[in-house]
Symmetry: C2
Subunit: 723 residues, 2 copies
């Protein structure tokens, strides 16, 4: 007899089993979800592989894929198929708030430096995490980027530089036909070049633009199985299929291969796995039958992956939308709800033909023209050490009194402007003992002076340009379309980004002066055209006057002005004197402010055959040639007034001789009064502030030069004209 209890118990057991099975099927997908989330926030190391089933939907690969290389393509939560139990894709994981993300970029030369800044702007715009940028640079890029980041002072961004020249020998043996040259190949050596304790890094090409938070990309590390070391997006062209043209023989790759514009690298595992030996072996072997790499590092990465497919974690296509010449990217972006990273991987860059390129370009232009100052945004709730100098600056700013009538002036002089030195390609002048660089500053409204200036001054120039980020791009186009300007590689343009209401004239002069590379500088202003012979004449004079032998002298270049737009520039001193006598030319500011140049003694200059000494007098502000190590301009003078006067006073205090050159001259061309000068001419506060700044300058001068500075104070107390 079967006891009654038994079937009941069995029934209960069966019911429970059924429930459990139902429960399992109901919840299975969510377990995956939860695990993925845990991985994403907890940070890696989980040995389990990615959820199965992630057959590529967006860029289907016609060839069978080896196990372990399935890509999850598209933007998970927006997948047309929707979210279902067996197809669970982690819902937008993010690393924990305040986790430090690591990014590496290889960058060399002037043009790549501009590109990398646009990339960094896009990354910073969307980021919510602290970042550590590892920049592998040549000397040019390092000089540019180190200066820029130093002045940029973005909170929660740390920068490390690595010398690309030192890495060159490791890759220079590889024949390469790609436009990125040797620098592209350097991505291969990052595991050894980056610090040994750095375990993970996102590697980016300079021609990518972010359209989303980089933390979402970082979170994909959590999906790596314990064998996977490289995260990559599939290549969005048929290049590696080898059917683009007859006899096209690409490097070996898995299916369409992968693109290396965006890479997730597990550096720790790569080092353990003997990466260096691995890629060198593969490259050497392939180069037995292939003449060179066509796509630099990408060919080698793909050859390795073909051989060791378990190394790669395919990433969703939206993380590297490739706008190459024969792109198939539309399959990706038309299904995804969200583009994450755009990659301009055609040599044509923004000029690539593509029916949607206008929309992508708009995103790129957004960051190209974005005011980088606005990225000085704090990450709330993420305490990080402030950028160098930022605390000191904050303290100084905090001490300012907003009610002070001169607040604007005081704030302007404390402003740390972003500076992009050598914005355009530039060849430093060959070292010559008497060479002289013309130093000046300008903003957009004086751009049209540049061509004439280039015609008048055949020597090196160092020019500071006060521009917005958008204007810097206008300037770039202006130079590119000018035959005169684009022919000159000895003109260094340093962009100082606009910030604040006053034109920081002396800060600009100091930037241009600091970047002059010849032993002497001619401190000029942008509205002046030099005599055609001035460059040669100055070098000859420097030599004749033996300034090289430690003689402290400022050579005065007499200044004139014309009130007419159309006038033919005198080709000699004799012609100039004739125009002066005819009333077509005047000595500079003769009508409004003769004191500024009176000590030059124009009457004596007319007759002079040799350089002659003049004495400093109050308000003297000649244009001078001095050694490069001359005193800097006082940055407290922003806007208009007294900016040069103070500098010449300082030269005098340091006992520079003032020597007027008999054949030298510059002529000021007319222009409408600038907006700033118009704004302040009518402002009584402006005059009061200028007076206050002058007084403070005098006090500082007395402090530095003692009794010798007394004469400046005495001079100041004499009756004087308008400032």
């Amino acid at each position: 007899m079967l006891p009654r209890g038994r079937p009941r118990a069995l029934g209960a057991a069966a019911l429970l089993l059924l429930l459990l099975v139902i429960g399992f099927f109901l919840f299975r997908g969510d377990l995956d979800c939860e695990r993925s989330e845990r991985e994403a926030s907890g940070g890696g190391g989980d040995p389990r592989s990615l959820p199965r089933s992630l057959t590529p939907r967006v860029l289907p690969d016609e060839r069978p894929r080896p196990r372990g290389t399935a890509a999850f393509d598209g933007d998970p939560p927006a997948d047309p198929g929707g979210h279902n139990g067996s197809d669970c894709i982690p819902p937008r994981p993010r690393p924990p708030k305040c986790e430090l993300l690591q990014v590496a970029i290889v960058c060399a030369g002037h043009n790549s430096s501009r590109d990398v800044i646009t990339l960094v702007k896009s990354m910073l715009f969307y980021r919510k995490n602290p970042l550590h940028l590892h920049l592998v640079t040549d000397a040019v890029a390092r000089n540019i980027l180190e200066t820029l980041f130093h002045m940029w002072m973005v909170p929660a961004v740390q920068i490390s530089f690595y010398n690309a020249d030192e890495l060159k020998p490791q890759v220079s043996w590889i024949p390469n036909k790609h436009y990125s040259g040797l620098y592209g190949l350097m991505k291969l050596v990052l595991p050894s070049a980056l610090p040994p304790d750095l375990a993970r890094v996102i590697v980016l090409d300079t021609d990518v633009t972010f359209a989303s938070n980089i933390a979402e990309l970082w979170a994909l590390f959590a999906h790596f199985s314990d064998k996977q070391v490289i995260g990559l997006v599939e290549n969005q062209s048929d290049w590696y299929l080898g059917n683009l043209w007859r006899n096209h023989r690409p490097w070996p790759a898995l299916g369409r291969g992968f693109n290396t514009g965006v890479i997730l690298l597990r550096l720790d595992r790569l080092r353990q796995a003997g990466w260096e030996q691995m890629w060198k072996l593969t490259a050497t072997r392939e180069l037995l039958t292939l003449p060179a790499t066509s796509l630099a590092d990408q060919d080698i990465f793909n050859a390795i992956i073909k051989e060791h497919p378990w190394l790669v974690q395919p990433l969703p296509c939206v993380w590297n939308v490739q706008l190459s010449d024969h792109t198939l990217a539309e399959r990706c972006y038309s299904e995804a709800s969200d583009l994450k990273v755009i990659h301009w991987n055609s040599p044509k860059k923004l000029r690539v033909k593509n029916k949607h390129v206008e929309s992508f370009r708009n995103l790129y232009l957004t960051f190209l023209e974005y005011d980088g100052n606005l990225l000085r945004r704090e990450l709330f709730g993420c305490p990080r050490p402030p950028p160098p100098g930022a605390e000191q600056l904050q303290r100084a700013l905090a001490q300012l009194d907003e009610e002070d009538a001169c607040f604007e002036f005081r704030r302007q002089q404390l402003t740390v402007h972003r500076v992009h030195i050598t914005f355009l390609p530039h060849k430093p002048p060959p070292p010559q003992p008497h060479d002289v660089t013309l130093v000046a500053q300008l903003s957009m409204d004086r751009m049209q002076m540049l061509e004439a200036l280039c015609r008048h001054w055949p020597g090196p120039m160092s020019l500071a340009l006060y521009l917005t980020d958008a204007e810097a791009q206008q300037f770039l186009r202006f130079v590119e379309t000018s035959v005169v300007l684009s022919a000159r590689q000895d003109v260094a343009y340093h962009v100082v980004y606009r910030e604040g209401p006053l034109y920081p004239i002396n800060q600009l002069r100091n930037v241009a002066l600091a970047q002059a590379l010849t032993p002497y500088v001619f401190l000029s202003d942008i509205d002046f055209l030099p005599a055609y012979s001035l460059y040669d004449y100055l070098r000859a004079s420097i030599q004749q006057l033996e300034l090289g032998s430690g003689r402290k002298a400022a050579l005065v270049v007499p200044a004139f002005e014309t009130l007419h737009y159309r006038f033919s520039f005198p080709s000699s001193k004799a012609e100039l004197l004739a125009l002066l006598d005819a009333g077509s030319l005047h000595t500079f500011r003769y009508h409004e402010w003769p004191r500024g140049h009176a000590p030059t003694d124009y009457a004596r200059w007319r007759e002079a055959q040799a350089p002659y000494h003049v004495q400093w007098a109050a308000d003297y502000e000649p244009y001078v040639v001095v050694p490069r190590d001359c005193p800097r301009y006082d940055p407290r003078f922003a806007g208009f007034g007294w900016n040069k006067v103070a500098h010449v006073m300082e030269l005098d205090a340091q006992e520079y001789e003032l020597l007027v050159l008999p054949e030298a001259f510059v002529i000021h061309l007319p222009h409408a009064p600038s907006l700033d000068i118009s704004r302040f001419r009518s402002s009584p506060t402006y005059r009061d502030c200028l007076q206050a700044l002058k007084d403070e300058f005098h006090q500082d001068l007395s402090r530095r030069y003692g009794a010798a500075a007394l004469k400046y104070l005495t001079a100041l107390q004499q009756p004087r004209g308008p400032t």
Copy 2:
């Protein structure tokens, strides 16, 4: 005897039970997740309430909350507590790709119109969905915004306007002390004002800025229980606690109350629930004891919620980070990983004091200065009807030949510029039969002319300004700080946003001309200063010459020029003639291009006592006064050359008399050549293109005026000077 099987079966059952229980606890949270996701993407109507447990973490309310009003605060996935089973918050839900999102904004007047554009720019920047904007506007805002959106042509954005004046009677009975005036209160009547088939809408104040995708906000509708009709963020100040100052008596509210800068409205349910009666009853009752609303609609919303707490769905604090004067928002944003919406709800707006305000301001400035043209981005994979005119434009652009040397010109003339009419507050001139508006156009480099122009012309002006979005803000500050300019409300400034390499001079003139509101216009240029008496003299002349009676005439204002910056403007014709004789003044372009004004016959003008007729001649380009309905300028002439000549030719073709006024004059002030003119003076292509454009213009003229236009062709073939 107990059978052996029984305990085994029981044991199995117990084991299964245990597994099931464990399974249940393991998976419970994910069920919530999954359901929430389904709700988010499936779209509402689900009768289940939000997952429990969402105790406020960020802005804890000290008072007990009624059931059903628990807020989920902070940014879910970044919650420091992390994701756990019982506290599940849906992971970043999004509505399906391409779902249309509905947004309503109340906007009145010139200043709010500027604000709303910045808000819309921030919203468009992050959005990935089609949007339908419902704008409740007064006549001024409608005029501005309708023009702007029409020219903006952003893909996948639909605009509907609702007349605020018609809604006024519904709220004007409520006494209100808030700075938003009646317009704030209008949010209360949206359920009846918006189309009856509109079920859900996001309502925004004009002073909010998006820092994220609005689709994430829309997705929160999915969390509404079936009783909830309003989604709101808790108020982030102690205002409604009533302890801000002695005798502070706020309106009733639940705890800290809610802020109505960002509202999710279930319009369908509100209408069903008899919303109109509900809010009117509550308001009427409270107004028995309270004198007026202090915070407009927000007081009334809070009073209703206090009474019917089940109506509200509290939203995470990040969706309305309130930077009011006594804000407690830091509790919200320092814990959240992501700010979604910033609300500048202090009357001080951006000048509010807050230790983090700089970072918030940077986000705001991002969109204030953002080039709105870049928002003309397609939503890939979301087919939507193109904006009106966009298809036609695309067709015309597609027909252009990029290799054509004149491509830039042809493209520029097709460019549809965004136009923001009456960018600053403006009072239309009172209707007067002989009144005349000065019409001109300028860009940033002529801004300093405005003050002088205002001093010389006391009448109405309509000025088109060609600016970037960032420059428009500089212009705003320039006007605000100028005593002269800010005193004038009869000067209408119309901002035409920059796009393309050529200055679209005739398009700008047409914008300014179309916006002139007086019967006559004086078509001038920005570099000219009119005689002080010109405005009065022109009105008198119009009356005397009986132009009102249908006489078709163009009154010529003779033009002169000075080559000196500093010159004292002649106060009469006699003084002008004396300066002319002394050589300090010249007739305009006497030296370079006398043909342009020769037909004015300056010799006759010297002696003339009465208006005299002159005949058209080739290249004549006088400054004229004409009726407002005169022919428009030909937009094909962009950049420099022939832009006025073509217009005067058209006046002549339409048989306008040309009458020179004997006492009228304008004087051109000197300025440096603009960047564009410098760029093109050296370009031979430029001359060729201008010639091609001229030829095409002549062909069009012949087509329109037949044989009568022959004389222009004949005139053209005579030998001529430079253009």
